[in-house]
Symmetry: C2
Subunit: 368 residues, 2 copies
């Protein structure tokens, strides 16, 4: 009863407020009209719910949004397969089955060929550099432009930092050792691997362990120690190779159904986008901070052999990467615009990092 | 008149709402009680208002907070000297003259000896690593603990990335060239410089240009190309040395008056802290993205000579840095706790970066 009374009075007040001259009551008009409505949104992910970092950061995001909006927006997070398959995020968010997705842009290369530039490129930008390109190098604008026709609005929602190359049953001592090697490695990295003589295969994550165990697969890439520890790959493939030239700093996308995002009150829209920025920062922090602990466990408790790819192998992979990326980057007008922007930025930022981060890190390495 | 009527009705409605059973109307009770109040806060900075990045990011922060709060919180930004001197931030925010400050923790070493660990340490963490320590390595908790007795609540509000060592009138070819050299370099870096044979001097920023010009000063550090371009130092000191071993990734602090922050409604508190995270991400992006353009201008239009410090000089500076940082880190119980946390984290993250970011960046450098 009291509840009903409140509703009636509330409705009357809102009507009066709405009829006000907007200049005489700017603050109240800004604040109140939107705030009677609450929103229950869904966020679907390309990974299982409890995946360290990847799967847990969206919960942080949802919590932040709920707090900032005083509960006006609540977001329920769904792991891969719960509401949609891990590779259905783009379509499901586009159609509004869920309002938000947490995924990787390179999964959608079949729909828009330029998407890998918004996740990661072999021998491309690191996480720090990628963030800079997106925010200040025109990356975000290009990304949002190419997703708009699909009723999607993408922003950055995390970065893995430089990944590992992956798990190998046998050591890689030369280019020779890549010949005929069967490795689960998708996307552009896979194409580079193929040109280097390997056999890239695609395979559901769930089948990788057995394939490695039986020798149907010689190697697999995944993420880095923080995520890899739980896979058990180290029990069937002892060699853990670095660096992750194929994923030097993978941006995780947070993608919104554009129509739904645009229909929100301005404050909630700002809250979602600001929470995404906080989430982006946090995920990279988490990988940076917690990877070494997982690495130490892998090495000390599981006897994993951490190995660097030989320089001549890296050089050849680099040469082939340029080939593959240039082909992609010149394949159509839209992709060329993205490629040019990315490439120019990389040249620029590599030049500056050669005297800042990069020079410093070398100096720190000097024998004391 | 209409305004007055609204106020009366509004007050009545709020009273009724407040008298509701909180379980029957959870959403409205969450939302409305706080929202009649608006806040006008002040943010004071240690830098002039239009300093690229440093001075402009707080405006971005203020704008974000205003949008997210639908104008319930408006923040006015003041440059150094407008409301308080650049080095008065700590005291002025503590006393509530302004509610928020944007500054650097190392400025307050005279008040709390461990503060440099929360901005930057010679041969310490990079920006990416520093962010990781703060968020996942216990850094934030220690920082907030040591500021609490001063009625302050600090969070990260940006990072400069690795800075330049600075501007020199003459080249540095050996340790010999540092002997008796007068350089404006404050803090721990200054102490290291002194032990290496130099003469660190403190001097108001406004006096540096003339001192360099007249030869009363041989060198000065500042930030990096993005900020240095406007100083004109390049017209009186042509040599621009890297890397910035003394400031490898300086965290900018956003410090709140704790009492005022704690007295806010929970949603506004969350909005401020989330906006700070977004701001932290953004400032580093800006430095990363825009420094090279400024560097190119310095080199191509102003004939600046960019030089790397010789390895033996860096090695000696590194040795002395360890000495200085260890002395600071063992000077009292509180500082020792911070030092141990920072040092352990650095060991950990350097180990992981040796196979991730660092190994990748070297691989990218390999001759193609």
């Amino acid at each position: 009863m009291r509840q009903c009374l409140n509703s009636i009075i509330f409705t009357i007040v809102i009507s009066i407020l709405l009829s006000c001259d907007s200049e005489s009551q700017p603050t109240n008009n800004d604040v109140f009209p939107d705030q009677k409505q609450t929103y229950e949104w869904k966020l679907i992910m390309s990974w299982p719910k409890n995946t360290p970092g990847l799967g847990t950061t969206p919960e942080y995001f949802a919590d932040l949004v709920e707090k900032m909006s005083s509960g006006r927006m609540r977001i329920r997070v769904f792991g891969a397969g719960e509401l949609a398959g891990g590779l259905e995020i783009f379509d499901m968010v586009r159609q509004g089955v869920a309002e938000i997705g947490h995924s990787g842009a390179y999964y959608w290369q079949g729909k828009i060929s330029g998407t890998p530039f918004f996740s990661t490129i072999p021998f491309g930008l690191t996480g720090q550099e990628m963030n800079a390109w997106l925010a200040f190098g025109g990356g975000n604008e290009l990304w949002q432009e190419i997703y708009a026709p699909f009723n999607l609005y993408p922003v950055r929602g995390g970065n893995s930092g430089t990944q590992m190359f992956g798990w190998f049953r046998d050591p890689i001592n030369s280019l020779e050792d890549l010949q005929g090697l069967k490795m689960r490695i998708p996307g552009l990295g896979g194409e580079v691997f193929r040109r280097a003589g390997g056999i890239p295969t695609t395979m559901a994550v769930g089948d990788v362990f057995t394939a490695l165990q039986t020798g149907n697969l010689d190697a697999t890439e995944f993420v880095g120690p923080y995520n890899d520890l739980a896979t058990g790959y180290h029990t069937v493939a002892k060699y853990y190779y670095y660096p992750g030239w194929h994923e030097p700093g993978s941006t995780i996308e947070l993608v919104f159904n554009k129509e739904k995002l645009d229909s929100l009150p301005q404050d909630l829209r700002a809250i979602l986008l600001s929470a995404a920025e906080a989430m982006n920062q946090r995920l990279m922090d988490e990988y940076t901070a917690l990877s070494n602990r997982a690495l130490t466990t892998l090495v000390e408790e599981h006897g994993v052999l951490v190995r660097k790819l030989p320089d001549d192998v890296l050089q050849e992979l680099r040469r082939l990467s340029e080939e593959v990326v240039t082909e992609l980057g010149t394949s159509d007008t839209q992709t060329r615009r993205i490629y040019e922007s990315y490439k120019d930025f990389q040249k620029d930022v590599e030049n500056y990092h050669s005297i800042s981060e990069e020079a410093y890190i070398s100096a720190r390495r000097l024998t004391k």
